[in-house]
Amino acid sequence: MKKKPPMSDNVQAFLDGATAAADEERYVLRLYVTGHTPLSTKAIVRIRKICEEHLKGRYDLEVMDISQNPKLAASEQIIAAPTLIKKLPLPLRRFIGDMSQTERILLGLDLQKTEKSPPPQS
C-alpha cells in the first residue's frame, strides 16, 4: 500500500483475483504486536504456521512492534494488539487476537474454500 494503484489496476486486480487461481495470488500481511508479551509471541508463532501451511511461497508477512514504532499505531489505525492486517489481496481485513482460531483466519483470508468446503458453523 505504499503506492496506491490507479483505479483501473484495482479493478483489474479484483478481476484477476476472482478469475485466476488462488495459488497465483500473493498475500501481503502485517502483524502488529506490542513488545515481547506472551500474546505477541503466541500470535507470531501461529500466523507463521498458518502461512507456511496454506500460503507457502506466496506470502509476505511482516511483524511490526508498535511499542518500538508508536507512530504506526495511529497511521494504521491499530487499537487492539495483536492485530493482523491483510493488505493484499483486497479487500483490506483486520484480525485481532492471538490467532488461535485458525478457521476464522482462514475464512477471513479466503483460504478455506480452496482447501476444502467450509465446515458447518457450530
Partner: protein
C-alpha cells in the same frame, strides 16, 4: 464556621485543573480534578464534544497545558470544521504542537476476532500522542464507539478499567464523554470506571423551547454546586450561568439615581431609586411601562452611564421610532455607544438561556442600568414555579454587579377588573421598588395612573398620580379626588374647571356683599347728612327768630328814644340816660 474550616483544606489538597469555560470553574470550585478522568455524559446534541474541545482549547491557550483529543466518531477534519464555527482555530494549535488530534477509526465489519487480545494498541497510541507534546489534558470522545466496534465486551471492560488506571498513572486530566443510556448515565455504563467526577449535560424541551443544562452529578472529595445550571453555546464557546442564590451578600449603596421623571423622583423621596436596586414596573397593556423604562435608560445615558435594554416585544428601530414620539431620543445614545438595545423574540430560547445571554451581555457591556421589557414575556412558556428561581438568579446577579435594573411586567386583564397585585410572576418580593400603572376607565375615556406600591428603604408618596405622555415627554400630574373617586383626564379637567367656577362664584358673592354694605353705608351717611341738615335748618331758623326779636327790641328802644326826643328836651336826654326818676 467550623464546617467551613474543615472543608477548606479538602479543597486545597485536591488539585483542580481550570477548564477555562465560563461558569463551570465556579460551579466546580476551580475546575476538574487534576490527574483524574472526568465523565461527561448526555444525550445526542447536548454539547459534550464542544465542552471537551473547549477544555482542551482553553487549556492550550490560557493555561499552557497541551492536550490530546482522541476521537472515535468524527474525523479530525470534521471536528476542526465543527468547532471552527464556534470560534476555535484548532489547526493553528495543532501546528504549534499544542494539540494533537487523533482519529480512531473503528469499523465493525473490519474486525475478526481470532482469540485473546488487549487494547495495547490504543494505549501505545495515546501514550505516544501524550509524549509527543507533553500533554496534560486528554479527551476521549467517545469511548463507547469501542463497544460497537469490538464484539467482546468482557475484554473491553477489563481493558477500559486498565485504561482509566493508566490515565491516572500518567497524571493527565482526562475528559471521557459518554452517550446517555436508557438505564444508567451512559449506554455502556462508563460511569462505573470514572468515579471521581461526573458531569451530566441535558437538553430538554419544555413548551417547544429547548434549554441546555449542566449538572455536576458527582465530584469526589470536594464541594461543588449541586444545581442544574443552564448553559448556552455562543460564538465564544460554552457559557454556564453559575448564578446561585445561595448567598445574599450584595453591597447596598446609598447613592440614588434619577428615574428621569422629576415628579416620580419626588414621589420616591425626592431623589429617585437606589443605585443597584431593582425596579418593577407592572401594569396592564398600554399603561406606559415601556415608555417609563425607555426614559430610565435615556436618563442613564444622559448621565454618561452605559445602559442595556433588552426588548422582547419590539425591534430596536421600532423602539427608537416610537420613543421619539414622546420626546425620548434613544438613537443618539446608541450611536454614541452608551446604549445597547438587544431585541429578540422570547420564544427564541428558554428562559434560562435568555438569562445566560443577559448575563454574558451584562458582563461584556458592563452597563450601569439594565432594562428588561418585559419580563412577563420571557415567562410565557414556563410554569410560574420555574420562573421565580431563574429570575431570582438574574436579579441577584445584577445586584452583585451593582446594576440598577428596571423590569416591566405585563399584568393580565384590564387592570381595573382584576387586581394587578395578584397577576405578578412571583418576583415582586425580589424587587426593591414596585411601580404600578393602571388604566382608569371613567367618563368615556381611559387615563393612565401611576403609584408607588412599594419602595424599600426610602420615604415614598402614597398618592396616585396621573401619568401623562406628551410630545415633550413624561409627566405626572396630581389627580383630582371627588367623592372618594380619583378623577383623571377630561374628568379631572372638568372638575378643575368646575372648582374654578365655584371659586369665582364665591368671589363674586363676596364682592356683592361688600357692595351692599357700601351702599348701605352710603344710605346711612345720606340719612345722617339729612338729619344734620334739618338740625342746621332749625338752628338757623332759631337764630333768625332770636335776631328778629333783638332787632324788634332795638327798634322799640330807638323808637322810644326818638319819641322822647321828639317830646321836648334834649336835657332830659341825660336824665333819661341816667335813669328815669
Amino acid at each position: 464556621m467550623k464546617r467551613k474550616k474543615y472543608t477548606a483544606p479538602e479543597d486545597v489538597t485536591l488539585p483542580k485543573t481550570p477548564t477555562g469555560i465560563e461558569g463551570l470553574d465556579e460551579i466546580t470550585g476551580g475546575g476538574l480534578p487534576t490527574g483524574r478522568p472526568t465523565l461527561i455524559c448526555g444525550g445526542a446534541g447536548c454539547g459534550k464534544t464542544l465542552l471537551a474541545m473547549e477544555f482542551l482549547m482553553r487549556g492550550a491557550m490560557l493555561y499552557d497545558e497541551p492536550g490530546v483529543y482522541m476521537m472515535f466518531e468524527e474525523s479530525a477534519a470534521e471536528l476542526a470544521a465543527n468547532v471552527r464555527s464556534l470560534g476555535f482555530k484548532v489547526e493553528a494549535l495543532v501546528a504549534r504542537k499544542k494539540i494533537v488530534l487523533d482519529h480512531v477509526h473503528i469499523e465493525r465489519n473490519e474486525f475478526e476476532e481470532t482469540g485473546e487480545y488487549n487494547l495495547d494498541g490504543l494505549f501505545i497510541r495515546l501514550g505516544h500522542a501524550i509524549d509527543s507534546i507533553g500533554a496534560k489534558r486528554v479527551v476521549l470522545d467517545t469511548l463507547e464507539a469501542l463497544f460497537s466496534g469490538l464484539p467482546n465486551h468482557s475484554v473491553l471492560r477489563a481493558e477500559l478499567r486498565r485504561l482509566f488506571r493508566w490515565l491516572k498513572d500518567r497524571g493527565v486530566t482526562a475528559i471521557v464523554t459518554g452517550e446517555r443510556g436508557e438505564a444508567g448515565l451512559t449506554r455502556y455504563g462508563l460511569e462505573e470506571y470514572v468515579a471521581d467526577c461526573v458531569i451530566v449535560l441535558d437538553h430538554r424541551v419544555e413548551g417547544q423551547i429547548s434549554t441546555r443544562r449542566l449538572r455536576v452529578l458527582k465530584y469526589r472529595g470536594t464541594t461543588h454546586g449541586m444545581n442544574e445550571y443552564p448553559f448556552i453555546i455562543t460564538a465564544n464557546g460554552i457559557s454556564v450561568m453559575p448564578i446561585t442564590s445561595l448567598r445574599l451578600d450584595h453591597p447596598a449603596g446609598v447613592q440614588r439615581v434619577s428615574t428621569g421623571v422629576p415628579r416620580l423622583d419626588e414621589m420616591l423621596g425626592g431623589k429617585g431609586v437606589f443605585r443597584g436596586s431593582s425596579v418593577l414596573v407592572s401594569g396592564s397593556p398600554g399603561t406606559g411601562k415601556s415608555s417609563l423604562a425607555a426614559k430610565f435608560v435615556e436618563t442613564a445615558c444622559r448621565r454618561g452611564e452605559r445602559a442595556l435594554l433588552f426588548a422582547y416585544e419590539e425591534s430596536a428601530t421600532q423602539i427608537m421610532r416610537n420613543m421619539r414620539s414622546i420626546g425620548i431620543d434613544l438613537e443618539t445614545w446608541v450611536k454614541k455607544g452608551l446604549l445597547e438595545i438587544h431585541a429578540s423574540r422570547p420564544t427564541l430560547q428558554g428562559l434560562e438561556q435568555h438569562l445566560v445571554m443577559m448575563h454574558d451581555m451584562v458582563c461584556a457591556f458592563r452597563p450601569a442600568v439594565v432594562a428588561v421589557d418585559p419580563i412577563s414575556n420571557l415567562t410565557l412558556e414556563d410554569t410560574e414555579a420555574a420562573v421565580k428561581p431563574t429570575l431570582m438568579r438574574l436579579i441577584d446577579f445584577l445586584k452583585q454587579k451593582q446594576v440598577t435594573a428596571v423590569f416591566t411586567s405585563l399584568t393580565s386583564g384590564s387592570g381595573a377588573a382584576s387586581s394587578p397585585e395578584d397577576s405578578q410572576v412571583g418576583v415582586s418580593s425580589l424587587m426593591d421598588v414596585w411601580l404600578l400603572m393602571r388604566n382608569n376607565e371613567f367618563n368615556g375615556e381611559r387615563n393612565r395612573t401611576l403609584y408607588v406600591l412599594k419602595a424599600r428603604g426610602m420615604h415614598h408618596s402614597n398618592q396616585v398620580r396621573e401619568f401623562v405622555l406628551t410630545a415633550a415627554g413624561i409627566d405626572l400630574l396630581d389627580v383630582c379626588v371627588l367623592d372618594d373617586r380619583v378623577l383623571t383626564g377630561s374628568a379631572r379637567a372638568t372638575q378643575e374647571a368646575h372648582l374654578a367656577a365655584a371659586a369665582e362664584l364665591r368671589g363674586q358673592g363676596h364682592q356683592h356683599r361688600q357692595r351692599q354694605l357700601a351702599s348701605k353705608r352710603k344710605a346711612v351717611d345720606a340719612k345722617i347728612a339729612a338729619m344734620r341738615a334739618e338740625v342746621d335748618a332749625e338752628e338757623e331758623e332759631m337764630n333768625l327768630a332770636i335776631k328778629q326779636e333783638l332787632m324788634q327790641e332795638n327798634t322799640m328802644r330807638q323808637n322810644a328814644t326818638s319819641m322822647a326826643a321828639s317830646r321836648g328836651e334834649l336835657g332830659n336826654k341825660h336824665n333819661l340816660s341816667q335813669g328815669k326818676p
